[in-house]
Symmetry: C2
DNA sequence: ATACATATATGTAAAATGCACATAGAGCAA
DNA sequence: TTGCTCTATGTGCATTTTACATATATGTAT
């Protein structure tokens, strides 16, 4: 079997097609900010909460690196928390800049949802929203 | 001014924040496939149609490279069209595999819209769809 | 001739992401 | 006290995606 044929074979198995990744770039950032807006937290805990947003089986490396980058950009701040048993935790807090950043993200996502609605209108002949609103019909 | 302060300065100018990009990876692929499902086309024309999907000021390089990659993966096919004045065009056609690929993309995007709705529910306290349905209220 | 619109493509670098691996404290069981 | 597991934070490297700059060629209008 040729390399290319094998590649296509792999693409069509249960794991789905290669390259289909319907999440936006940097999706982790707004998810973290939204979590931190509710309450301060740390990497290990944020990792678990992020799973709920489609970051299943997240690799720790990406998360911790993202947090450090976010701190460099001034949208979060951190300090060590050592006043308890177990390994030290780096506790994160959202900054004012972080809140603005989250608001900006939200606006971008809103815009993008309209674009996607447009996409579905062409794909199915009507928008996803209209589909939902048609309700019980089969 | 420190490097970091300057960096933050740049981030908060009119161009918006750095790294905010609400489009999913490979978004260009389903957009091209959707276009080709309607009628056969070529790079230069597809570029214009893609603009309508938020690929404003698209750079040609990315588009042409993406098309070649898609052909390698077997989701489109191409042939030169020289039977007219002007530079030759490489005409593209969607394949059956391409149609399946598009269907798969659509399912992923649907899933993604639900995830985003979830995000907005936490962000505003209600979903975007509910916002839209509330209608005229200010 | 030369400027412009059409049309396709490459080279290189940056950014984002995944995967594997490293480090270390604390609790607990053998 | 040795080893095992859970918690917790990170680094190094490779791959993938994307942007930006540049190259090439044809036909048309001036």
């Amino acid at each position: 079997m040729s390399d290319e044929a094998q590649e296509r074979e792999v693409e069509s198995t249960g794991r789905g097609f290669r390259g289909v990744e319907a999440r936006p770039r940097n999706w982790l950032v707004p998810v973290i900010l939204l979590s931190l807006r509710e309450w301060n937290s740390y990497g290990y805990e944020l990792m678990e909460r992020a799973s709920a947003f489609g970051f299943e089986a997240m690799n720790p490396g990406t998360l911790y690196r993202t947090l450090r980058q976010m701190e460099k950009e001034g949208i979060v701040e951190s300090s060590w928390e050592t006043s308890r048993g177990g390994p030290a935790r780096r506790m994160y807090t959202i900054t004012d800049a972080g809140r603005s950043y989250l608001d900006f993200w939200a606006k971008s996502l809103e815009q993008y949802q309209r674009t996607m609605d447009n996409f579905f209108r062409l794909y199915t002949g009507r928008s996803l929203r209209e589909e939902r609103e048609r309700g019980g019909e089969k």
